[in-house]
């Protein structure tokens, strides 16, 4: 034990400096690429009209966020469209899939209706959706929802059906009801797969909203990109694109955070803390057992 204990801090420092070196390498490569781009632009190797130099993009970012401050409303519009689309599409997908997972006839009957829209490119529906829903927020939300529906649906069905047969028998041998098997085994067992589907849907939601805006809209990030590109203000168009990258990153981080909370048992780093929390919740029971000394040796 003492050997490992002594080895750990040393190892951590070593990996710490390796990590620092890696970050430094990344930064150097990134700066080199940007510098090459900037130089290429200044030396006239790149057409400045269509490929703006990095410094011009940075200036544009400053302009649209600080000087003009015109991006916030559009950012908000796209954010709301994508979020609403995600919530509607994903909850419909997960909900229907759960019903399909617990009800075999339902699963059989909806199968063809699921397959057909799945093999149809959903974005092709955009003009029809605009015809039905007009030019406001709703067609964009509808497209985002339509695109968001399938990954959570397919993943949830898969997760619901993918239950270990032995575990199911174990529940049955304990006299568990169908309802208990669903809540205590099937659903938590499907959670990692469901979350994976939701993560995919989250990034698709943004794409759906943008496609809708490109086709017909007078507000939103896609409208800004259109407007700037048409007026050959490429630097600003890139600045808006960078903002979309940031929004996508925000979604991604949010999904990762939710994943680590909801399916915590897939995240080894969280197990010890949660175990300690649950131990504290049962402290009263443990206290009556006398002082807890871990076994001297780890059992096999």
């Amino acid at each position: 034990m003492s050997v490992t204990a002594a080895a750990i801090p040393a190892a951590r420092t070593a990996s710490g400096s390796a990590w620092g070196r890696r970050i430094l390498n990344h930064a150097l490569i990134f700066l080199a690429l940007i510098a090459a781009w900037e130089a290429g632009s200044r030396l006239g190797l790149l057409d400045e009209l269509t490929s703006p130099r990095p410094s011009a993009i940075v200036e544009s970012v400053f302009r649209i966020y600080v000087e003009q401050g015109n991006i916030y409303w559009h950012f908000f519009v796209t954010l709301v469209e994508a979020t609403a689309g995600f919530i509607i599409g994903a909850s419909a997908g997960v909900g229907l899939a759960i019903m399909a997972g617990i009800n075999e006839p339902f699963r059989r009957y909806i199968q063809p209706y699921i397959l057909v829209p799945q093999v149809t490119p959903r974005v092709a529906l955009t003009p029809m959706l605009i015809a039905w829903l007009g030019f406001g927020w709703s067609p964009k939300i509808a497209i985002a929802a339509l695109i968001c529906f399938f990954p959570p649906f397919v993943n949830t069905v898969t997760g619901m059906l993918n239950v270990d047969e032995d575990a199911r028998e174990m529940f049955r041998s304990m006299g568990a009801s169908k309802r208990q098997i669903f809540w205590k085994l099937q659903l938590p067992n499907a959670m990692p797969t469901i979350m994976a589907g939701l993560k995919i849907a989250m990034s698709l939601a943004l794409a759906g909203a943008i496609v809708g805006e490109f086709l017909s809209a007078h507000q939103g990030m896609a409208v800004l990109i259109h407007r700037y590109t048409y007026s050959l203000n490429m630097a600003s168009a890139f600045a808006v694109l960078l903002s979309l990258t940031a929004m996508g990153f925000l979604f991604f981080k949010l999904a990762e955070f939710a994943d680590s909370r909801i399916v915590f048992w897939r995240h080894d780093d969280r197990l010890t803390r949660i175990g300690r929390k649950r131990a504290a919740a049962m402290e009263g029971v443990m206290a009556r057992q006398g002082a807890q000394q871990p076994s001297a040796e780890r059992p096999v």
Binding site: D166, G175, F264, R266, L271, G275, R276, V285, P299, V300
Partner: protein, 269 residues
């Protein structure tokens, strides 16, 4: 020390069996899955209270099928099967089962896994929690009550599964190769602890294995089974005194008995 071998058709209960009440009784139990698959044919047997019975035989001999029939998980095709004198039709509270896979729920700590049968049966009391922790200590997991399955070794996971089985309060334990997926050393140690634990809780145990030495080492009686169709070939009484030590497996008497069972299995093993 000669082993007592009986062919099952003329099985007369030994004096030791007569002294104890019979808790599991099968009369020509037959299970046919489809016209071509006869999993178990005409199994007649009886298991006395608090005894340890091993079912040994090659794959396809119907030993797991017999276990699942006793557990009430699948219906039998013909014959009769009684637990505590009542015909088996559905899972019973006094019969618990354990598999080769630990089948623990990854999102629950060890003690929460042990409490699962109590939760399924109704609400969990303070007393249940105390008992769950006691059982984890009984199976040697003191200090690991709040570890998650992913943090435990395969052997420790099976220990949790055993504690969960005991938490059901069942006095009939059906074990389907419970340590079959573990390495030799771990399995040997867990077998010894299993013997200690079932003796302590005075459970009646049916233990399925395909390892002849393991079957004999653990059991009071070994039921030898042959495949296609699954049949009970013989019941062998194991006379060795308890508690048993690993060294028993090196004695000539033990090896003689292993050869005897191997002989019964004949061309099947």
């Amino acid at each position: 020390m000669a082993a007592v071998v009986q062919t099952l058709s003329q099985a007369a209960p030994s004096p030791a069996q007569q002294a104890r009440p019979i808790v599991i009784e099968g009369d020509r139990v037959t299970k046919i899955f489809s016209e071509t698959v006869v999993a178990l044919e005409g199994a007649t047997f009886s298991v006395p209270k608090s005894s340890f019975v091993s079912l040994v035989g090659p794959s396809g001999c119907g030993k797991s099928t017999l276990l699942r029939l006793v557990a009430g998980l699948i219906p039998l095709t013909s014959g009769a099967l009684f637990v505590h004198g009542q015909a088996v039709g559905a899972p019973r509270k006094d019969v618990g089962m354990m598999f080769q896979k630990a089948t623990l729920l990854d999102w629950r700590t060890a003690v929460e896994n042990v409490l699962l049968p109590t939760e399924i049966g109704g609400s969990v009391t303070w007393e249940d929690k105390r008992r769950a922790i006691d059982l984890l200590h009984l199976v040697g997991l003191k200090g690991f009550e709040f570890s998650f399955p992913r943090q435990l070794s395969g052997g420790m996971q099976q220990r949790v599964a055993l504690a969960r089985l005991l938490q059901t309060g069942a006095d009939i334990l059906l074990l389907d190769e419970p340590f079959g997926a573990l390495d030799e050393f771990t399995r040997e140690r867990l077998n010894l602890e299993l013997l200690r634990i079932v003796a302590e809780v005075q459970a009646t145990t049916l233990f399925v294995t395909h390892n002849i030495a393991e079957a004999i080492f653990l059991a009071d009686h070994v039921i030898v089974m042959t495949p296609r169709p699954g049949r009970l070939a013989a019941m062998v009484d194991v006379p060795f005194a308890r508690p048993r030590e690993i060294a028993l497996q090196q004695t000539p008497e033990f090896n003689a008995m292993v050869s005897e069972v191997r002989g019964i299995l004949g061309g099947h093993a």
